[in-house]
Symmetry: C2
Subunit: 407 residues, 2 copies
C-alpha cells in the first residue's frame, strides 16, 4: 500500500471531532476506497497548532473552523500552495466563491464542499458530476433543518413558533442564537452555492433575497391543513426569461409535491430539467457523524480520482432465512370458531397478530390480518397448515409489511 | 481545446438514439464539463458496423445493445484493450459482474453503469463515490418503474392487475412481454448490482430471491388503504447476523416511510447506515432522454476525472421581479361587504382568487384565501392597499404557495 495522505485539519468542533473519529474508526474502509491510507498531519484549533507548519506537513487541507476571515486566508493559502481543500463552510463559499474557485483553477487542484449544503445528502456532486452537463430549469429544496423541524412541529402540535423554537433548542436542533437559521440567511448562503453550480452563474450572497419563518402563526398552519397544504422554508433557484431568480421564503406545498413529506430536521433538494425530469435527494442535513461522512467522501474522491471500482472483498454469506412482518388474506367459510382456529395456528408457531379485520358474510367472508415480525419459514409453515383447513375457500394470500420501527 | 474523445456506440435503440441526440445538441455543455469535446467514432447496430474497427477507432465504448452474449464479448474486448466502458446493461452486470470488474481492474480502466439501476437517479455513484467508505446496514428501494406504475394505478383506481397492465402497455410503461418486470426478475438484477457495490460482496443474480406482483388483487389494495399502508414492489439488500440477504418482494409500507409517496413510473432508493442515517434518492427510472443523461454523466466523469470545478460562465441577470401564487390571511371587521371589497382590490390588479375561507365572527372574523400565480410586485401592492382599509384589524399576512402545475 502506498504512502499515507497527510491531512491538515483546521477546526475541531463537533464535525471536526467526528472527522477525527471516522479517520481512525474507518481507517481500513477509507484506505480501501481511496487506494491510500489517510492520516492526520496536524490539527489547528483556537488554542493549539500553527497553520503554516500544518500546511507544510500536509498533502490536503480540511477546513472546518467556520467564519470567513481566517478560513478564507487559510483556504487560499492551501490552494495557492497546490494543496486540495475540503470545506463545509457555506458562508465562505457563498461570500468568496469566485476568489476560491479561481485560486483552485489557477493551481489545478480541487476544492470540494459536499458538507456545505444539505449535510450528507450528495447534492453538490450530483449537480456538478452526475449532471455536469445537464441544463437545469429549477433547483429547489429544504436546505435548513432547524426551520424544517420547527415548521413540522408547529404543524403537528399546533404550538406557537416561540414554544417550538425553545423545544428545538433543548433538543439541539436550534442554536442558542438561531437568527441565521430562522430568518433564512443560512438557507440563502446554501442557495447561492447551489445556484452558482447549477446555472454556472457567479451568484453572490447579496443577490439572494430571503424571508424567514419568525412570523408564521399556528393559524396559518391550521388553515393550510384545511386547504391540504404543508408549510416549508424553501430555497428556490430558477431559470426565468432574462435570467435567474434565487430566493428563500416560507411556502405552502400541495400534498403530492416531492418535498411535502420531508419532515423534522431533514433536508431535501429537487433538481428539474428537461432531460432529467425531476430528481430528488433527501437525508439528514446536519449532525456530526453525518456531516463528517460527507467530508470523508470528499477526501476519498480527491485521493482516489478515477480509480476502477473495487472488486468484492470476498465471499459473504447470502442468507435466505430472514424475518418479516406479514399481511395475510384468508377467504373463509362464514361459521363460528374460524378466527379462533386461525389465531391458534399462528400462536402455536409463536407468531403474534397485530391487527385483524373480519369482512363480509356467507360466501364472501374473509379475514385480513397483519402479523408482527417473525421468521419467514415459520410463517410459510403456518400458511401451509391453514391452507389445508376445511373452512378455507381458496389459497391464503400474503404480502410482507414494513412497519414503522423495523424492517 | 484538446483533441476530441472518440466514442464507439454499440446499439442505437431508444437510449442509444437519445445519446446520439444529446452528444450533438448538448455538445458545448459536454465539452465544457468534460474538458474535451466528444464525437461518435462509430455505431454498431444489427444491420451496420463492425465491432473490431469501431473498437480500433474509439477511445471509449458505450454499450447500449442489451443481451448478455455479444455485449459481454464486446465489453470484455474493450476493457482488455484498455478502453473505458459505459453500459446501461443490468443483466450483463448482474450475471457477469465479477468477470467485467476483474477485466477493468486488470487494465486499470473504468467501467461505469449509472443508467443500469434507477435510470438517471445517481444511485451508483452515490453508493460507490459519495459513500465509498460508509458502512451500509440496508439498501432498499423501488427499482422497477413498470410495477410501481401498475401498483399506483391499482391503488388509485381500484382496477384489476390485468386491466392496469394493459393500460401500462398502451402508455409505454410496460413492454409487450412484461414478464421480467412484473415477476421481479428485472428488479432482482438491479438489486444484485446494488448489493455487490454496497456490501462489497460478489452477489450474483441467482442469489437474489424474487417475487412479483402478478397475484396482487384489488382487494389487497383496498384493505391496505384501511390499514393505512401503501403497496410497493421493493428490492431489499440488508446486512444481517452472519451475512446479507438480497430479495425482491411486494410489500406494504406505513405512511411515513420515505418510499411510500413514490408514485407512477418513478424509482427511489434509500440507503441506511449508522453514519448517514437515511438518505433517499428518487426520480425517473426509465425514459430515453433520462437514461441517456445518465450515460452522458458517466462519459463526462471518465473523461474529466479530477478536474477542478468549472468557474461561472459569466454574468447572468439575477431577477427579483418574479411570479408566485399566494396564501393571504386577513383579520377583518365582521361586517357586510368586506369580502366584496377585498375581492375587488385583487381583481382590479388582475389577480384571481383560487379559494377562500371565511372564519369566525365579531372580533375573530378573518378571511383566508389562495390567489393564483401573479407578479409578486402586483400582489405586494394590493396587500399594501388592503392594509390601509378601515375594516382591517391587523396587518395582512401572506405566504407563497407552490401549486401542483406550476412554481
Amino acid at each position: 500500500m502506498s504512502e499515507p495522505v497527510r491531512i491538515g485539519l483546521l477546526g475541531r468542533g463537533t464535525v471536526g471531532g467526528a472527522v477525527c473519529d471516522l479517520l481512525e474508526d474507518r481507517a481500513d474502509a477509507i484506505r480501501e476506497a481511496a487506494g491510500r491510507p489517510m492520516e492526520l498531519a496536524g490539527v489547528l484549533t483556537t488554542s493549539q497548532g500553527d497553520f503554516d507548519s500544518i500546511l507544510a506537513d500536509s498533502d490536503l487541507i480540511v477546513e472546518l473552523m467556520g467564519g470567513t476571515d481566517d478560513a478564507r486566508r487559510y483556504v487560499l493559502a492551501a490552494l495557492e500552495a497546490g494543496k486540495p481543500v475540503v470545506t463545509a463552510n457555506k458562508q465562505l463559499l457563498a461570500q468568496h466563491g469566485d476568489e476560491l474557485f479561481a485560486a483552485a483553477e489557477a493551481s489545478g487542484v480541487e476544492i470540494r464542499f459536499e458538507a456545505a449544503v444539505a449535510g450528507v445528502v450528495p447534492i453538490i456532486r450530483t449537480v456538478t458530476e452526475a449532471f455536469g452537463s445537464v441544463p437545469f430549469t429549477r433547483v429547489f429544496g429544504i436546505v435548513n433543518g432547524t426551520t424544517n423541524f420547527i415548521l413540522s412541529e408547529m404543524a403537528e402540535t399546533g404550538a406557537s413558533y416561540d414554544d417550538v423554537l425553545a423545544r428545538a433548542q433543548e433538543l439541539g436542533y436550534a442554536e442558542a442564537d438561531p437568527t441565521e437559521d430562522v430568518n433564512g440567511a443560512d438557507a440563502a448562503a446554501k442557495m447561492a452555492i447551489l445556484a452558482r453550480l447549477a446555472f454556472h452563474a457567479p451568484v453572490t450572497l447579496d443577490q439572494v433575497s430571503f424571508e424567514g419563518i419568525e412570523s408564521v402563526q399556528p393559524d396559518d398552519l391550521s388553515y393550510a391543513k384545511e386547504l391540504g397544504l404543508s408549510l416549508k422554508l424553501l430555497g428556490v433557484a430558477e431559470k426565468l426569461e432574462g435570467g435567474i431568480a434565487v430566493r428563500v421564503f416560507p411556502c405552502f406545498l400541495y400534498p403530492g409535491h416531492p418535498l411535502a413529506p420531508i419532515g423534522g430536521p431533514f433536508n431535501a433538494v429537487t433538481l428539474e430539467g428537461p432531460e432529467i425530469t425531476e430528481v430528488t435527494l433527501s437525508g439528514p442535513g446536519a449532525g456530526g457523524p453525518q456531516t463528517a461522512a460527507a467530508v470523508i467522501g470528499d477526501l476519498i474522491s480527491i485521493v482516489a480520482g478515477n480509480r476502477v471500482p473495487r472488486r468484492p472483498e470476498g465471499p459473504i454469506e447470502i442468507l435466505s432465512d430472514v424475518e418479516s412482518s406479514f399481511y395475510l388474506h384468508l377467504e373463509v367459510a362464514d361459521r363460528p370458531g374460524v378466527l379462533a382456529e386461525v389465531a391458534k395456528s399462528l400462536s402455536d408457531a409463536g407468531i403474534s397478530v397485530k391487527s385483524v379485520v373480519q369482512k363480509g358474510i356467507g360466501d364472501d367472508a374473509r379475514l385480513v390480518m397483519v402479523v408482527h415480525r417473525c421468521p419467514e419459514k415459520e410463517f410459510m409453515g403456518v400458511v401451509d397448515e391453514i391452507a389445508d383447513l376445511d373452512y378455507m375457500r381458496s389459497r391464503p394470500r400474503f404480502i410482507r409489511v414494513i412497519e414503522e420501527e423495523s424492517v
